[in-house]
Symmetry: C2
Subunit: 383 residues, 2 copies
């Protein structure tokens, strides 16, 4: 499963000693071809970690033979030494695997502002390479966890070809992208332009619309590698839909495992004048701390939804707004609607619909409630 | 003190029964002249409460003889009936005080989406009018509290004239403005244009730079009334500085009493290319939930500061950023700086300096930490 569900890939996950607690912390994914096409999408944060700067360069070739991923340290805000460390990581993997460093992407996740223990990481690459297996996807997915409580994988199999992948991410989940590392693989025969197009289309409506806490990471990376070993070149739309499905599944798993969350909140904005309006309103609602607290308290506080909508530049008239929470239209025409006591909020998933009554476009943003556990987890994380 | 520190003003604060717990909930402020000039600044939220819509209209005259304020209900998202209630409130006050309704501003604060109990509010206006006093400022300040733990007042006395005021606000504190009601009074002789200019200059660098939780209210109102009874028309700069000083003092008190907060965080952005850049970066840092959790945990997590800066469009180079927390430059040139263990975070006030190394402009934004108490208070508030 995971990154080895598609043929032509091997993977491994080991404990290299980067994490002091001895948990798995180093993963390796290798594309055995025959094709080695690849595409990547990276954080839009202007403060980018060293591995992001490196991998962005590598991806310009449209070709990737291996990916090294580590948890236990983000290698972000680490200056020139941090970049040298990323470079050394790619060189070591290239050396062990008989590749050029320019064929090796590097991903890191963990604390910002701390150098990686290279004396542990570099030998670990050799160890991981020795354990590479066509069944190693699960172990690789486990090795990239940070505060994730579960590892996340997904697979879609079509007529003779497959798209699979793994993801990590539990905090700092925000657009452009979440704090997450994602590696997707496929045995379909696709060139890097096709991969890039399908990947951008997919991330734009999946990972980019997951907004757990409004915070954007320095390390977000989503890679898509194609081996071509299935010998099938599917029609673009069919391929893009499979990539989107895997991304959507992984994004939903990220929200479901967000740090300290008790509720997964689906914010659906409908009847917007434009899709951009719908996304802007959805994000504003998803980032409203007061609303997120109310949802935590199982309080269908629609006034906070309206207050969040009111801060946007989207087209709407305040006295035409409608809001439903879990199917009950608690706000109609900008004012009190159906009885809020009818709203059943006992379950983990909460569905908010904001009707802007201004057009025919829509968008969905996923977020979480704001809880004391989130505060606890993020006030104690680095200490 | 408060709104009755300046001569020419009377005020009252009573329990009208709007709040079910019997606490004071209705305030009245009257300007006895000889001048009755006024200016107002209102929420930039597009979903505006009925009293905001009314008071914005009233203020277009540049003249105000009285202000009615209630806690216990925001009268926001209450449709045409809510607006009728605000109008009836102004009419009742005008009737009791021998004024025209167009001379009466109305302010409301409390839960959104609930109609006010007019059978309590309207008789309360008569009761309050009967208690109007030149010493009533304190009682008025108490009557506008919602989740405030203390009432907030401030006074600046200059050579023969005074600016005083009261404020309420403890949550939803965000730019343009915080969830707050503020009434400022002065006995200086100033026309409405002067008041408007001084008030906008003051709120732009005080209330607009308080950002406790990123949430913007539907009801924010700041009013400045001049009676002219001191018979002194101070130079503009001197007057504007006094208004700014009272606003700055009240804004600081709002942060110090923010819901559930354990730390008051001063985010100072220096060496920005423009003041707008400095404000944008300051707000991004102030709204970063992960950083706010870290500060709560007394963790000088500068990586989260850099991550927040990186999401802005301000001019900077990532490898030239410097960050100090409580005087220790924990980040230098975008990387690890002085030992973070040197940072003493035991006290309530935390000072973050972000040096963009891109120019000579600066701005300061105040915020709070994110705590389990904030979550608790805001998940249980309406239920």
């Amino acid at each position: 499963m995971s990154v080895t569900a598609a043929r032509g890939f091997r993977a491994a996950g080991i404990a290299a000693g980067i994490k002091q607690n001895g948990n798995p912390d180093l993963a390796l994914v290798v594309n055995d071809g025959p094709r080695r096409a690849a595409a990547g999408v990276f954080t839009s944060n202007r403060v980018k970690a060293a591995p992001v700067l490196w991998s962005e360069q590598v991806l310009r070739t449209g070709r990737l033979s291996a990916v090294v991923l580590n948890s236990g340290g983000a290698n972000a805000c680490t200056g020139p030494k941090g970049f040298q460390d990323t470079h050394a990581t790619a060189e070591k993997a290239a050396d062990v695997l008989g590749l050029g460093p320019i064929e090796v992407a590097v991903c890191s996740t963990g604390l910002i502002g701390v150098l990686l223990p290279m004396d542990k990481l570099l030998p670990g690459i050799g160890t991981a390479a020795a354990q590479l297996s066509e069944h190693g996807g699960e172990k690789a997915a486990i090795a990239i966890k940070t505060t994730d409580t579960v590892h996340k994988t997904s697979v879609v199999t079509k007529d003779g070809w497959t798209v699979g992948g793994m993801a990590k991410g539990a905090g700092m989940l925000a657009p452009g992208l979440a704090t997450m590392l994602v590696v997707l693989t496929t045995d379909a025969d696709a060139d890097s332009e096709t991969l890039d197009r399908a990947l951008r289309a997919a991330t734009g409506v999946t990972f980019d619309r997951v907004d757990s806490d409004g915070c954007m990471s320095t390390n977000d990376t989503v890679l898509l590698l194609a081996s071509g070993s299935a010998g099938v070149a599917p029609p673009y739309e069919e391929f893009a839909e499979a990539v989107r499905a895997v991304c959507a599944d992984l994004a939903r798993q990220l929200i479901g495992d967000a740090e300290g969350a008790g509720k997964d909140i689906k914010v659906e904005v409908i009847n917007a004048a434009t899709e951009d309006d719908a996304v802007e309103v959805g994000r504003s609602i998803a980032r409203n701390n007061l609303l997120k607290c109310a949802i935590h308290g199982e309080d269908p506080n629609w006034g906070r939804v309206l207050s969040a909508i009111g801060t946007t530049s989207a087209a709407f008239e305040p006295d035409q707004l409608n809001v439903a929470i879990n199917g009950v239209w608690v706000c109609k025409n900008g004012s009190v609607g159906d009885d809020r006591d009818l709203v059943d909020m006992r379950y983990r998933e909460v569905h908010i619909v904001a009707d802007l009554a201004a057009g025919h476009e829509s968008a969905t943003i996923w977020t979480n409630d704001l809880t004391a556990d989130y505060v606890h987890e993020n006030s104690a994380y680095s200490s």
